[in-house]
């Protein structure tokens, strides 16, 4: 039985229950598909994203497009500004760090004074790398 006599423990238990952390873990995407598919992606476009959001305003019962005065709706302007700033921050300021696990199979070919050399094995240490969002 949990000791719930202290309010902070009870609150922590309730908070983690409502946080739903264990729900919907991601499935692994095959590495080969990533390597072949990612180069074909178009990259992020703030304009495209903002447009998609604005086109879904009807789901919230809001009108889409120019106002009766003929001016662009302020909320749509703000939506574009918001998405542009978010995408700019992701593209220019986000830091992607990658952890590379040990145990990756290695096959290497080389040469030595005594002839061709083939090395097979696995990486023994973990590594890291960096990436950018495009």
């Amino acid at each position: 039985m949990n000791d719930l006599t202290e309010i902070n423990k009870l609150v922590d238990v309730l908070y983690s229950t409502l946080d739903l952390k264990s729900i919907g873990k991601v499935k692994k995407i095959p590495s080969a598909l990533i390597l072949s598919g990612v180069p074909n992606r178009q990259g992020l476009s703030a304009i495209k994203i903002a447009n998609r959001i604005i086109s879904r305003k009807s789901e919230a019962g809001l009108p889409i497009g120019l106002m009766q005065s003929g001016n662009e709706a302020p909320d749509e302007i703000m939506e574009r500004i918001r998405i542009e700033e978010i995408i700019n921050a992701l593209i220019q300021e986000a830091v992607i760090t990658i952890g590379v696990d040990a145990g990756i199979s290695i096959t290497a070919n080389g040469a030595s004074p005594s002839g061709p050399v083939t090395v097979t094995g696995t990486s023994v240490s973990i590594g890291n790398g960096y990436g950018v969002i495009q």
């Binding site: 039985m1 949990n2 009870l10 739903l20 995407i29 598909l33 992606r41």
Partner: protein, 418 residues
Amino acid sequence: MSEKQQNIIERIKTYKSIGSSSIKNYNVNSTNVNTTDPVEYLFCVLESMVGTEPMRLIIGDILNTFIDDSESTMKTSMINNSMPTQSDTLINSSIVTNGINLPLNKIDTDNKLKVDKTSSEGSILYGTDNTFDNKLYEIIQSNGNVVSGSSYTATYDKTTSSVNIKPNSGQTNGEFITSFINEFLLFSKTVIIANVISMVFGSLFSTNISENEIYSSLVSDEQLKNIISGKTDLSITIYRNSELLQKAKELKKNVMSNDIGCNINERTINTDDLETTINNIVDSDNSLDISNELSNLFDNSSQSLDTTKNKESEKDNFFKKIIEYLKLVMVKEVTTSPFAKTIVSINNSLSGNANDLDDYFVANSKFIKCLLKELLNELINFIYTIVLVYVTELVKPIVKKITKERVNNFNNTMKSLI
């Protein structure tokens, strides 16, 4: 911590909005959200999800099952926390010969024993269960004759107004205290409900006990409430003291007061309605019926103001008082009741310790805190288990949506890479 407490309430509102569009939003009092009382907070969470109706049902559940279910756990805890040092040693011969003296004014600080058991109020307040209070009453009425118990004999001395308990010879310290505790029913439903409703309406104390005696009892309860909420300072503020004086007046008048804005509505109940309610609750094994009995008791109460305008909020207030006093009454049974104080006195005597009943809270703080914590944890977990059912129902549609979202995300990612 109150930010996280508020955050939970806001998240519940969000989940209701995302999960279903047809469930009403309930506003909760911000003071209650920031409470440090786990029971109060759980009811606040429940209220934000489904309103106050389920709170009444939970009270029905507590009266129906919790009281009975916690009997053996708390008895075991009482035995463990009052086991004398050298529990395997035979009781000291001087204790067998002279007994253990219990001054009534020190162990019965609620003055319950002043209520005549043969009166209509007394028959409700004592009930017919095998409780220590009933045994004590029998000893007092015996006029100095010896009354036997499972492992002792007892007599009452009118001149000193004290009860003397002599353990039977041939027992160890541990055997005696275990036998003594096991002899009696710790939580009598009849007595608990009667006491709870007395605290709300003052029905059972109005004729036999003075306003000053009621006030002293309220001061002791207030100190116990401070211990329940984890305070080390047991002193009472001047403001709170004036509230207790006012409360003692109301209880002596046999009323429950409700502040309904510009006026105070005073409600009273009669003893017949109270007796019927208690009997129906004790005889029932249906939580909803029990909750309805309390609801009917409130509906049948007579009021000072001719209005039905605030009836539902007054009724909510009534049920909130029921849960507040239910917690207090059960805690009192294991910490400050005549039974608890007698056990403490027996333990102190058998262990060769001084028995300080004047500064009871300080002298016996370990006993009080251990039992209080155990009982409150049982109660809080009981209520939490029920609240969790409602939380699970609330998050079910959200979980379905998130799971579907994850699957869609995966499929869309795969498609975008092909």
